[in-house]
């Protein structure tokens, strides 16, 4: 009796699995921060133009609300779409989406950061768990992006800079919406060009941002503009 039931279950499960596999295929989205045309390596000292030196010690950001479009029509959106991308953790930089095979798309969109509704709805787990260190404690709100490092430009102790960008309330809403056109729909490789970022952020003047502010909004916008699709 038990034996037949288990056989039946095994057949059922494998059937469901194969039909699922036939209908759905994984799409991989990879996030690759780059600097001076190469993959960014944490703690490595880079010499930029004008002989400024820079090393990035920590780079983490939230990607949320991933959607696919075909000629401006929304064709798919990820449920519960919250991903913490951590430069230190290779796995975190690859997001696998399970999308119906028949769906056609030529654009991807996502948020850099966490939307305001999620920000005001209490505690969450997974990548949103406050133990991930991406939540402000003295004033509620997610930190959308953390970038910390050492730059010869900073006149601070040890030349350190710390940019913690976030804020969900007007006028300091720093959430950024990013849309990118894609050429190869199966593998979407998204670059974050840190050389570009560094050109627009004046570390000499602004090296510590730790709360919602005009600068946080401005820098978030700057960084959002430095995401681009890798040419195949």
């Amino acid at each position: 009796m038990r034996f037949t039931i288990s056989i039946f279950l095994i057949i059922l499960i494998s059937y469901v699995q194969t039909s699922f596999a036939q209908k759905y295929s994984p799409i991989l989205i990879t996030f690759s921060p780059i600097i001076e045309e190469e993959q960014l390596v944490l703690h490595k000292r880079y010499v930029l133009k004008d002989n400024d030196t820079l090393s990035i010690e920590n780079l983490r950001f939230y990607i949320s609300g991933i959607q696919l479009f075909n000629n401006n029509n929304l064709v798919w959106k990820e449920k519960n779409s919250f991903h913490l991308i951590d430069q230190e953790d290779t796995n975190s930089k690859i997001i696998s989406l399970t999308v119906n095979k028949n769906i056609l798309y030529n654009k991807v969109s996502f948020n850099l950061g966490i939307d305001s509704l999620t920000n005001v709805s209490g505690a969450y787990g997974g990548d949103l768990d406050p133990t991930k260190g991406m939540y402000w404690t003295w004033q509620s709100g997610y930190i959308n992006l953390k970038m910390e490092g050492i730059s010869s430009l900073c006149g601070t102790n040890n030349h350190e800079f710390q940019l913690h960008l976030g804020g969900y309330q007007a006028p300091y809403n720093s959430l950024q919406y990013i849309t990118l056109s894609i050429d190869n729909p199966k593998k979407i490789n998204i670059l974050l060009d840190m050389s570009e970022v560094m050109k627009s952020i004046h570390l000499k003047k602004e090296h510590h941002i730790m709360s919602p502010s005009d600068s946080a909004v401005k820098h978030s916008n700057t960084i959002a503009n430095c995401f681009k699709i890798a040419s195949p």
């Binding site: 505690a123 768990d129 406050p130 133990t131 939540y135």
Partner: protein, 339 residues
Amino acid sequence: MKKLYVIGLLFLLMSFTARKQLFLTPKNWPDPWYNFSKNKLSRDKIALGRALFYDPILSKNNTISCASCHSQFSAFTHVDHALSHGIRDSIGIRNAPALMNLAWQKEFMRDGAINHLDMQALAPISNAAEMGSSIDSVVYKLQNTKRYPSLYFKAFRDSSITGEKTLKAIAQFMLTLVSANSKYDKVLRKEAKFTEQELNGYTLFQKNCSSCHQEPLFTNGKFANIGLPIDSMLKDYGRMGITKNPEDSLKFKVPTLRNIEFSYPYMHDGRFKKLSEVLNHYTKSIIISKSVAPELINPLILTSREKVDLTAFLLTLTDKEFLFNREFSYPKELLLNIK
């Protein structure tokens, strides 16, 4: 097979007993602001939250618990301390507020810095002058105890400890801290009667105070500047620190007045020890500035007789059942015997 039936029946029975109201909205109160569907109350989660609230393991050197600054007999405020006292005797910058009826509150802290009850515990845990720790080290410490993995298992059917579960359990305990059984409440329910003096005080209260200290919660949940002179040491501008809007300068959250008899000292910095000092402020010492509340631009006029009556009314907001409710007290069963 028979065994299964018995187990099933037991489960059914258990779920019935568990249904016994863990949270009730008192009659004629508004709906709570807290969204319970995202953090469903259960007896075991509340018990876990209560253990965490009373356990100094939440602080860096295991000396300070939430209850160190929020003790039950003073309506969960920091008794006798104008400014709260934290780890290694650090002095904070504000007076700990009384904790009650938090399910109806939308913003927390005197300046509204915290936007959800779940997230509240993060602030004291991480504050260097309060508990001096961090949620990840708290989670790590809890994982390495004998006691907590099994309490988490009971509460969440999963013994893994996360920040989310920890915060939600603490919030659950705080949600149960409902105070709605003072003499005032009994009078409204027609189970008791005000004395003439209290009744007179009630009328004065409705005329002068209830625009901000709105019934039945005795707060409208908003922020107001009541014209207190700024403390030159603390330089606390209240709500403006959060919104950066000059219109919010010197505004603080309107606190509830329930259990006010026991929640002294008063105001965001605990500057007043007695209710008479508070009333004297409203009648004599209001400092006029751009952001001061419109209803206070002309000082309130109260004779000394009226002040006595008003105070008599404020004392009817004392809820002894709340202050001595065993379910809110130190959980000996959970924290003492097992190591």
